[in-house]
Amino acid sequence: MDKKLSVIGDIYSEEVFKVILDYEIARAKRYPTPMSLLCLEIIPQAKNQETLQAGSNLFASAIKQYMRSADIPCVNGKVFKILLPSTNQDNLNSTCERMLALFTKEFETDDGETISFSLYIGGTTQEGGETLSRDQLLEKSQSAMNQSKEKGINTYVVLI
């Protein structure tokens, strides 16, 4: 089992992410604090195929620079999930806007190539406490991302 961290820029694999999600939910039930979940799909754009294929890795590296150390990102192909502990709806909206602002610019790779990303972002937030639901967090963030895809690239949708 890939039990520690996936190799992609120290971002968790989805399997590990779900373990930590369950644990964070148990914690937020006991010590009620809001919890948000982001679901992102990225579309990398680059001039050469090699850079394009490295898109997820490059995005993963970039994401670690811009997220709080308390945030918990995971990756599965071109879809990223980011658990944001102690994050309410206002903070979630700010995070979505910041991500769109940050990631729609071009990035330069170590090889001097340029890459940019288009994003679809879905997010949801729940209050802490006994009503907190793992399944709802996952389903609503996925549904919000699907709605973002309907709206078009570089948009975000937050469902409560």
């Binding site: 089992m1 039990k3 520690k4 399997e15 590990v16 779900k18 373990v19 930590i20 369950d22 644990y23 148990a26 914690r27 039930k29 006991r30 010590y31 150390s69 308390a70 793992r134």
Partner: protein, 158 residues
């Protein structure tokens, strides 16, 4: 990997424990808070083979009912590890004393009573210390060895 959402008669598998252990170590470095690890060896005593088989479940059920939802219990053979986030030395001592108190009594099962003998070693990482999983584990194991030297139903913290 086994998903655990409720812990009535289950504890985390070793691989999940390792993930959460690593995660808590990282959290402790980020947001300084104490962390305790308990290493417990249990010996089950029963009058018949059938009740001996149910002993681990009886133990786990009783253990879980006295732990917080944020605590992280795990089993490997006859040994249990329990990671106690945000727990300082007085807190860890309280948990050790509580466990010894709970398990000093016999437990009734449909197949007969079960009794447990516990040896507990615990180590506490004060907030802000630079710690690693292996160091913490070694210290807890050392504390367990000292508990075994002291005798049954004892604990040692270090």
């Amino acid at each position: 990997m086994k998903k655990i959402t409720t812990r009535d008669d289950e504890v985390y598998s070793s691989d999940v424990f390792e993930i959460l252990f690593d995660y808590e170590i990282t959290r402790t470095k980020r947001n300084p808070a104490p962390l305790a690890l308990m290493q417990i060896e249990i010996t089950s005593t029963t009058s018949n083979e059938e009740s001996l088989k149910s002993a681990p479940i009886v133990f786990i059920r009783a253990l879980n009912s006295h732990l917080r939802s944020v605590d992280i219990p795990s089993k490997a053979g006859n040994d249990f590890r329990i990671l106690l986030p945000t727990t300082d030395e007085p807190g860890a001592r309280t948990v050790c004393e509580r466990l010894l108190s709970i398990f000093k009594n016999k437990f009734d099962t449909p197949r007969g009573p079960v009794a447990f003998t516990l040896q507990i070693g615990a180590t506490i990482c004060p907030a802000g210390t630079d710690i690693s999983m292996s160091d913490v584990t070694e210290k807890a194991k050392e504390a367990l060895k000292q508990s075994k030297l002291k005798g049954p139903n004892t604990f040692v913290t270090q």
